[in-house]
Amino acid sequence: MKLPLSGLCPILLSTVMCVTFAGCNVVRITLNTPLTQNDVAFIVPGQTTLADVITRLGTPDSITESYTGVVATYRFLDMKYSRVNFGWLLKPFSPIDSDLIISRTGLGTDAFELLCDSDWVVTHQSFLRHLSGPRFNPYPF
């Protein structure tokens, strides 16, 4: 993946710091706009060109070469995190800072890949995974 995540670490860290001081937290992180089957239904293998796809979906995140042509990849991510701290309810009554935390993270990462021939005509197209979107559910068990 070309995204240099280390560069975004400070902002991710500040987000985590902001949200760790309450009883419940609901966090969502999205990278690019998730694509659906409907968004790519217009692509007809053998007819649609990469230029047509770019007109509708924008530029791909990466273009690489394979033995049979060019692979264009659109990446996207939809992460959902929820957390409940039951210990927070005791804070007004307890002299100690007690925590009882349950949390869960759902990482919906996917990519849409196009294989084009040497004339930039799409020959194959597919999603990398067919993930259903993660849900906000802090129960980890």
């Binding site: 995204l3 500040s14 937290n25 609901v26 966090v27």
Partner: protein
């Protein structure tokens, strides 16, 4: 009308009591891809050297279909956090601008592909829905 004024007051007071604060954060990677520079690149005319002088060195150099492809990218991330007493809502949105300049074997620009997805990027707090 008299009924609505106390109700509005109660809602405002409750909102102020519940609201601990808001947070806005932003992070970017890479330089902004200037549209003027991209517009100056003409297909079948502009050379590799001219592309480099207009845009600088590419973030990635690819070889595709026997052609050189210069890739320039920029990432923009915006976080909005709504900090309430009992619950916090936070949403981080990341989008990218990507520019691909495809050069033929003679080093002349064959195609230019630009997409600026960060233009519509907004600060969002609400994590549910789309």
């Amino acid at each position: 009308m008299l009924f609505f004024k106390p109700l509005a007051g109660i809602i405002i007071v409750l909102a102020l009591v519940m609201l601990q604060g808001c947070a806005f954060s932003r992070g970017t990677i890479g330089e902004d891809i200037r549209s003027e520079s991209v517009a100056a690149i003409k297909k079948a005319t502009t050379t590799k050297a001219e592309v480099l002088s207009l845009l600088g060195a590419p973030d990635r150099l690819l070889q595709v279909n026997g052609r050189d492809v210069f890739q320039y990218y920029r990432y923009d991330a915006k976080v909005g956090s709504l900090l309430l007493i009992l619950i916090n809502f936070s949403r981080l949105s990341i989008k990218s601008d990507d520019l691909f300049v495809i050069l033929d074997r003679e080093g002349i620009v064959e195609d230019v592909i630009l997409s600026k997805r960060t233009d519509g990027l907004e600060f969002r707090f609400w994590p549910f829905g789309e």
